[in-house]
């Protein structure tokens, strides 16, 4: 490989620093609190309607695990089915290969319309197209807001979740899209007028995929706005970039996810638009269809028995919406198109470079509260993967001040007598206490006392009391 995986943004600081900046943005804090609190409540209500939600989650988990266990054969079946129906399948090992394939397929066209897609964001396709002289027009409303604002996405489903209506109107105004006001309807109207023109003029559309059914070679996109449907039907040529883990074996399997995804992501019983296409159909829709199957770190992820659960992800964003860290820091602090809990476990695995300090900071961007695992529709045990990836970081780093301290702590805990001596020594810290609190600790403890008091150690530990009274 050798080239950088664009799944993380070049120049992003490690999470703690990026978060520090984001935390100071009061507008961002408020926008996120409002947005996540609302969607969180609605998701809980939508899920509570289904008596068999737990069984659905388990079914989703099992289907994805089965696919991952036999990924190669399913992919071959998919390729055969797509080809049989007149589509062309391309294989891309990494972002650079995928971008190259797409650029070649775009040919002489100078402008293309795009359906909202995580895979194309992951490979930095828009930037690659721009470098090749092709303008990509995002047609998803939130994605368009990010694009026009020359901004970065901060959420999987709602890339502009960090923006409020007033900010959006201003972004539109500066881009020459006149909105009559900042009501959602007025903003949507302004975007619609802008996009309609593009749908009719562009000859090539680029999409991602939520699912692909290996049995029939059908590709599936779920969306809310209908703009995706326009892209998928009007242009002459359709190029779909899809991660290799997105497939399901049969239509019956798909049915499970069509229930799990909308309730988890938008808290809807069913999403407004589900588009399915199978190869090409003469006289109906695009005359040419290309499916680019993207690896970009996925087979490496698959090789890790604990880490591979991240590949079950259906990008619903429920884990982001419930995450207390994400709620405060926003998505951009993660320095990647995949923010939040899923980003913290997926991004470092796709990057797969233990010496990348930014990616290595991501598994620590969690208090391990477990809210993500609780809502994940495919039961990814995110806290388990986080601690697993932390262990990978630790072993890649070798000897550090932290590893020495941890080894020392383990040595102390390893023997009750040593532990007790350390206890008695630590108890001397009680002389730092005033009025029942310690307001300033020395050394690494200073980070704690920057914002919290520390407890004053007691004169007598519990075990000393026990020995004196019960021993």
């Amino acid at each position: 490989m050798g080239t950088r995986n664009p799944v993380t943004w070049l120049g992003s600081p490690a999470f703690p620093e990026a978060a520090r900046t984001a935390l100071a943005d009061t507008q961002l804090r408020r926008n996120l609190r409002n947005a996540t609190t609302t969607i969180r409540g609605r998701r809980a209500a939508a899920v509570a309607e289904l008596p068999d939600w737990e069984r659905l989650r388990r079914a989703g988990e099992a289907i994805k695990d089965r696919v991952l266990a036999e990924l190669d054969t399913h992919l071959e079946r998919l390729e055969a089915a797509v080809t049989a129906r007149g589509g062309v399948v391309h294989w891309a090992r990494d972002a650079a290969e995928a971008n190259e394939i797409v650029l070649r397929l775009v040919g002489d066209e100078r402008e293309v319309v795009k359906v909202k897609s995580m895979a194309t964001a992951e490979i930095g396709l828009n930037e690659a197209l721009a470098a090749g002289g092709v303008r990509a027009v995002e047609t998803d409303l939130a994605e368009l807001i990010v694009q026009l604002g020359d901004d970065r996405p901060s959420h999987i489903l709602v890339p502009a979740i960090h923006r409020n209506r007033a900010e959006i109107r201003e972004i539109f105004r500066r881009s020459g899209l006149a909105a009559t006001g900042d009501a959602p309807r007025e903003l949507a109207e302004a975007a619609r007028a802008h996009l309609r023109e593009k749908f009719l003029s562009c000859k090539v559309a680029i999409s991602g995929a939520n699912f692909a059914v290996a049995d029939t070679g059908s590709v599936v996109v779920l969306e809310s706005e209908g703009n995706g449907r326009m892209c998928l039907t009007l242009p002459e040529k359709l190029i779909t970039v899809m991660g290799i883990e997105k497939l399901v074996p049969t239509w019956q399997d798909l049915e499970v996810f069509l229930q799990l995804l909308p309730r988890s992501s938008t808290a809807e019983r069913m999403n407004p638009y589900t588009s399915v296409w199978t190869g090409v159909t003469p006289g109906d829709g695009p005359a040419e269809f290309h499916l680019v199957l993207l690896d970009n770190g996925r087979t490496a992820t698959l090789a890790d028995p604990t880490g591979r659960q991240a590949l079950r992800c259906i990008r619903c964003s429920a884990c982001l919406n419930v995450c207390p860290v994400y709620e405060r820091t926003g998505g951009k602090s993660y320095g990647s198109v995949y923010p939040g809990p899923i980003g913290a476990i997926l991004t470092p695995q796709l990057v797969d470079d233990p010496h990348d300090a930014q990616a290595a900071s991501l598994p620590y961007a969690s208090s391990l509260c477990g809210a993500c695992f609780e809502v994940c529709p495919v039961r990814i045990d995110i806290p388990e993967v986080l601690t697993h990836l932390r262990a990978r970081v630790v072993s890649a780093r070798g000897r550090t001040a932290e590893s020495v301290a941890m080894a020392a702590a383990a040595w102390v805990f390893g023997d009750p007598a040593r532990y007790e001596r350390a206890q008695r020594l630590g108890s001397l810290a009680r002389f730092l206490g005033r009025d029942g609190r310690i307001s300033r600790l020395p050394g690494p403890g200073a980070v704690w006392t920057a914002s919290r008091d520390a407890p004053v150690p007691p004169r007598e530990s519990f075990r000393e009391w026990w020995r004196r009274n019960r021993g």
């Binding site: 405060r328 961007a365 383990a410 009750p416 007598e460 026990w466």
Partner: protein
């Protein structure tokens, strides 16, 4: 239920002995003899969660051998109970019947009214691990509701994390503090004078923040409230 052991946890043994004494007092009041094997130290959670699984494995093995032969191991920590019950088996050292205090009282002993008296306005913070790893549900609340004199006020957004997260509080101190600020706001909104919970780690965090602000809310572990009686009421620990 023949032999019951107390696992105090390293944090409580070292910094909050009053909590462990309260567990002993409470269980003895309920007619149960409890032992404290002096060879116990730490469950290995800090090591495991920070990425030092090999160290955690050693500690998990010692834990299993220290508590082998007990019919129940009771601990005043949802998060250490979760570590022992859910993670130790993955480290090849499971099999110890560990219960968080409220689980032990409600599920094993079958009591919710433990005869406690605590005449204070109290709010309860359910810790993430007792909630999501152990699934203690509203057992602690049932125990608190049966305490005489206690006025229980519901904590807004109770289920959101306080921002402690072990080494997270140091590695991501700013984010941790932002989470803490929101938790403190909710606690203060209740007008409670006492904040209780099943984990001294979270109480150390929220309590440390409240103390810094001189907020006038005192953290008290659930065990200490349940151990408090009219004859022998709870009093602040002398250090």
């Amino acid at each position: 239920m023949e032999r019951i052991a107390l696992f105090a946890t390293c944090l409580t043994d070292t910094l909050y002995p009053a909590t462990a004494r309260a567990v002993v007092r409470l269980l003895e009041r309920l007619g149960r003899a409890v032992e404290f094997p002096l060879d116990q130290t730490c469950c290995g959670q800090m090591h495991f969660n920070t990425g030092y699984a090999a160290h955690a494995e050693g500690l998990a093995r010692s834990f299993a051998s220290v508590f082998a032969g007990y019919d129940a191991v009771v601990t005043p920590s949802g998060s250490c109970a979760g570590m022992a019950r859910e993670v130790h088996p993955k480290l090849g050292a499971g099999g110890v019947p560990v219960y968080e205090l409220s689980e032990f009282l409600v599920d094993v002993l079958g009591v919710t009214d433990v005869g406690a008296y605590f005449p204070h306005r109290v709010t309860y913070h359910p810790t993430c691990h007792s909630l999501r790893v152990l699934g203690v549900g509203d057992k602690p609340l049932a125990l608190l509701r049966a305490v005489r004199g206690l006025e229980l006020v519901e904590l807004p957004l109770a289920e959101s994390c306080c921002g402690f997260g072990g080494t997270f509080a140091l590695k991501n101190a700013d984010t941790s503090t932002a989470m803490l600020a929101d938790k403190m706001r909710c606690v203060l909104d209740t007008g409670a004078e006492v904040l209780t919970s099943g984990d001294n780690s979270c109480l150390m965090h929220i309590g440390g923040g409240l103390s810094r602000l001189r907020a006038g809310v005192r953290p008290v572990h659930l065990a200490e409230i349940l151990a408090s009686t009219e004859e022998d009421p709870w009093a602040p620990a002398t250090r």
